[in-house]
Symmetry: D2
Subunit: 419 residues, 4 copies
């Protein structure tokens, strides 16, 4: 069975481990290990905040979350013979929370979903939800339940939120240029438009001390997905998936982290998945020259696995690109999806959920979010589908009206101090 | 079995039929029939261009498509007892192309997908595809194939592109105001930002002659989806679906049209579905006061059917909110989906498809388009999933490289005369 | 769209129609039409008892059902060029009840399920259910409900219970020989072990009068499935299925009938499906010499369609090959399935259903019946899976105990006069 | 995460472990541990032959397999408060092969499927396959491939072949009586009709030495499934399943073993699943008095999990109850399934597989075996469905004829010495 190439000890912080990972993208971060095409190996992954979020009933940890320190990535792994222009085939053989451990670290039998405060990260609906909130989820086999959100349980779609190859020096420059240009259009915005390189809290694996300062000032933040895959937060990258990554540097330099026990499409609360540490088993191979052969140069393509949880009854909500204030926007699917989500939240609150509970639930449960119409000027139409089978009460509209959920603790909240 | 409340004769144009439908939204359009809660009935629907598009190998009809005349809607149907504030339950019992007819009208055994010219409608990728293109699809039972796109066949997800209730006078004013405001920001734009009321080619059912001029100058165009449902182009509204529409006027005044034999998420080529005429069997009921009870006031909510075609192997592409020119945009899912689609097109062209063939295929086949990440500043991540089983060749990336499709006629093309 | 090659008038009996079908298998029954490979065509089908069963609340029609007259088959259709040794490819393009008709004939908006009396047909559990029972099902789009079985509704899996090619003269002799040998082992058994050729009520299409007597005394009854396909009652032969039949005579001579709106695996009540008349659209083609090429000589092979109703939560029961009296049998899967069904019936009666209601429901609903263990001496293990989503109440075991169904008329019953 | 209540050391034999399991059913076998309702715990399981089968290319180990020693069960586990008449709820939280081990024991990264020789176990098609055969399967994540069966790979449906509660003394007597009566009808049969209590190789956990002789002569063999669940070999008891077992003794006394990486319906080669050791995580609860409340007294009922591998294209074969020699049997589904399997084997051999390869494949791959018609006298109709996506070549019938598989080692064979 797969050798553990990147072991983690749950008792130690990310920087005290046997092998040191990284939390920035840079081509000069040296590999922690080299594997061959055809190899299978296990990688242990730290939850993205390195243990800063606790299994308790306060949201102060979310309010004060150390955003500069994310994401704690395991790797990079160099694949022998991989050359720029190749496609790196990565099979996700297995993935799960930390095996057989109980404890205070997310992944040890539990995980969390957070809504970030507007001045510390924000999120999809940050104007409607400017404060910090948290929900704790308990794992029982494949199933998640929360003491903070009564009446629901669902089968997780475990996946890595973040996986990707290293950028070349040129590609890194392109990222920094285009993101810097965007930031420059409104540098004081809260939350910011993008995150520039940030030496504070940078972890760069084996980058030598003499280079650390330069590299940390060049290295890209891990928040956005980019040409190398990265923080795609694709809930469908479950067990059995095969991903094809472009190779930009010798060896490809694959890294992975930010494991999620479950997530809805969009990871809408920013920290919307159920965050955890755990393990992932990978198998790698190469298609030499595959980037040109298949026209794949700036995105990871993939084939999802076959064992995602099956639900067969869904309740769906739609939204269009009109703002809450009634302003018409032109074919804005991002806005349309926000409106669809808000419609779903409005609906769920008639069953007794607070808006925060509904929002946290939609971030974490296996909901589907689809581009339904993207051309019918001026309105995009986005739809969100919630499996009715995750509720233990009748959630469909009936002549009897909504039953009221009961039980459950209040959602932990921490007021945004900037408000 | 359901009585035909809105019959159509394929030999006659939309305005020559026994009952006259409409192609604008207005509360004063009188019902063509009144039904009771609990009733089932059949509605026949005209293809949206009333027969202007032909089963041939030229795209001139698409280039010159009469956009002012759409959509030819059947209805409105008044539901006895439905009052503003209610939810109207509409079950789609059955839906299909024109039964047992062969002929020159879309829906008579065939349908079409079009890419509109940039100066006559445009579409999702109109900058990359400024000319007009067309593909004809033949129906064999549930299956669609095209002489213009070799190597594929798929099971249709038949659905109504457009269904909805009538707006109240106030709601109509809101629509006209907000869309007018948007148009006013760039009135000369081609394609336009939105479509204002347009008396030319307006069809208003039984609106009396004396009111026609006023009503036609107020009535909303049918292109966009809005609070009443409308042109949502939700591919999942298949047989067995239940939709809950807000009721804004007495009787609800339900109308339906724009049937699609199949469609991918987004209906990306604008006329991206396989367009056809046909029939739809509906069952209606009411939840009195349901809008407030369930917090549903400005969107149709729905439960998809259980008999959508099952595919179990998918090839997926991702895109982020960076323009083709390399400019970074802020969390723009519309753009991210465009980039995902362009990546899919790039990939398919390595198998010998022309970009037009690939684009038309992605509009019509049952592809899934998902909001994968909407919070990872500055990049949204959108993903598009193509079922591999619709191809009759190996479409997955392999070390052998892509096989080349053969056969098939060239895609009909008509140059954009404005270029 | 497909030409109707075998039209039926619902006002007339099977023998008064424009084209005359048949209710026996014999190679000399001449084709009613000849089609070419690649052709599509529509066949209308009569319900199997030719209208003898009524939409009422008595089971006397079931008790006295004219078993000698079944099955009323449409055809045969000769496929040009098909020769013995070929495989005949038959695609089921579409299938459904009688379009747009309401009336007294099964298929006109309704269908029935029956339990035959032990002395007139019997059934899977005839010792436990020796009398006659009936349930009427109403169709609403794809959905079936019954006034005789409250609390359930389900999406039908419409399929032909019976389809097949004509036997050669030799094959027919083989059938008559082997079935006659079986009957001879217990000729007085009630119900009988098998059904010999029976001139009474025989319908033989265009067999000339001079040959009628001989042919009717040779022709095989249609009850059992055999090498030619025939009455397989495979619920998975739904829309979109492709079947490969062995060809035993020139032209293949395909016939079809016994349409079912829905059925559970096994069609356990004998007339366990929801019986109806309707239409089926077929497409045919040939693989020359395919029988030897693919080793297919004595069974129809097939590929089910992709649009069967999706259910994702099931409640399952198991049974082993021990009789109700406690006698151990050796690896008898037939018995094990009986016991699994009886366990399911026992369970459902704790919710207030009568045993007859439960039995009729299991015959008609889309239940799955599987061979789970067939080698663990001495007990076979059979399992039956019921989708929980077809019930409108909580049907899973809980600490609260079973709720009681209410409403619904008593199941029509007619005592077995022989008892 | 779940505490390991029954640990196993792969270096030691079953009887040398820290806790001693059992391989017979008897109410007096004392519990190895006691759990409370609501508890979750891990149980490690030995492969059923305790390591007698090797990862090599000989079938001598299968030919000589020590059948008296099976099945090596972990348990029993007593559930506090469970009383006769209760239903014991068992949730399968997780299940898999031996984590992170490679080695010579089945479950350490590999498993096996065997065909037993007719004089040492036999199997479903023992007359056609009287010798011993073996196939070795390698695990890569969820996927199984075999060096002995080229051209296929599939996602496993991991499940326990055997789980159940202890019989009461009365129930045990019933078993021994009825099975003894069956054996007495043909005591010399090879293979035997059933397996009587057998002191040789009996393992009885903590049964005290003074009682061992008596208990071993009374204890039931574990081969057949019975009222307590037992060796049901239900492939659908995958992760996420919930099983409700009747409780016959104080504490219920649950035992489990015989883990399978995958299996087709029927486990047709006897040792037809992919056999392995591994772990299973269970959660238990009680419905007091549930046996009477729900009418569940002599079978385990269950709800399968939601994460079984999805396949969407199937090739199916049918069989009827006519013997290979042409003798007609009366509604014999066991025979019908044998014939369906033989038809599938005949088909696969036209692609170059040997009959043994095809038979072993059908035992191990996730094929579906259904009771299609059980009432159409005199022929039962059974069907078997093979997912086409498990083959890496075109396995559907086409005009081009079957391609030929290549590669793969010969299937290990050991001649039946009795022949």
């Amino acid at each position: 069975m797969p050798e553990v190439l990147f072991p983690l000890d749950s008792q130690k912080s990310f920087t005290e481990q046997e092998k040191l990972g990284h939390n920035r993208w840079h081509p000069e971060i040296p590999p922690v290990a080299t594997v061959k095409p055809g190899d299978s190996f296990r990688v242990e992954c730290r939850e993205w905040f390195d243990g800063a979020i606790r299994n308790d009933d306060s949201a102060e940890d979310i309010r004060d979350a150390p955003l500069n320190s994310v994401h704690t990535l395991s790797g990079p792994f160099s694949v022998k013979g991989a050359k720029p222009g190749d496609l790196l085939i990565v099979d996700i053989l297995d993935i799960g929370p930390i095996p057989q451990e109980e404890g205070p670290l997310a992944g040890q039998g539990w995980g969390y979903t957070g809504i970030f405060a507007q001045n510390n990260g924000g999120g999809f609906l940050t104007e409607q939800f400017p404060d910090a909130y948290k929900a704790i989820w308990d794992f029982s086999g494949q199933t998640a339940t929360s003491r903070h959100i009564p009446g629901v349980s669902f089968t997780g779609m475990v996946h890595p939120g973040l996986m990707g190859t290293a950028p070349s020096a040129d590609l890194l420059k392109t990222w920094n240029k285009r993101e810097g240009d965007l930031i420059a259009t409104d540098p004081q915005r809260v939350p910011p438009l993008a995150l520039p390189p940030e030496p504070d809290s940078a972890i760069l694996g084996g980058v030598p001390g003499g280079e650390f300062s330069r590299v940390s000032s060049e290295a890209a933040r891990t928040a956005p997905p980019r040409e190398n895959g990265g923080n795609q937060d694709i809930k469908n990258l479950t067990k059995g998936s095969r991903v094809f990554y472009p190779v930009f540097v010798e060896g490809g330099k694959l890294s992975v982290g930010d494991l999620h026990f479950s997530q809805g499409d969009g990871e809408i609360t920013f920290c919307g998945a159920i965050e955890m540490g755990g393990y992932i088993d990978l198998h790698v191979d190469i298609i030499p020259g595959g980037m040109e052969t298949y026209g794949v140069s700036e995105n990871a393509i993939f084939m999802p696995g076959r064992t995602d949880p099956q639900y067969s009854e869904w309740l769906a909500f739609s939204g269009t690109s009109v703002t809450l204030e009634g302003e018409q926007r032109y074919l804005d699917s991002q806005l349309a999806y926000q409106r669809a989500i808000l419609h779903a939240i409005d609906y769920l609150t008639t069953f007794g959920y607070t808006p925060e509970q509904a929002y946290l639930l939609l971030g974490a449960a296996p909901i589907e979010g689809r581009f339904s119409g993207v051309v019918d000027i001026p309105n995009s139409c986005a739809t969100v589908y919630i499996p009715t089978e995750i509720f233990d009460f009748e959630v469909r509209p009936t002549a009897d009206g909504p039953t009221q959920v009961s039980g459950g603790m209040p959602v932990p909240t921490a007021a945004n101090p900037a408000l």
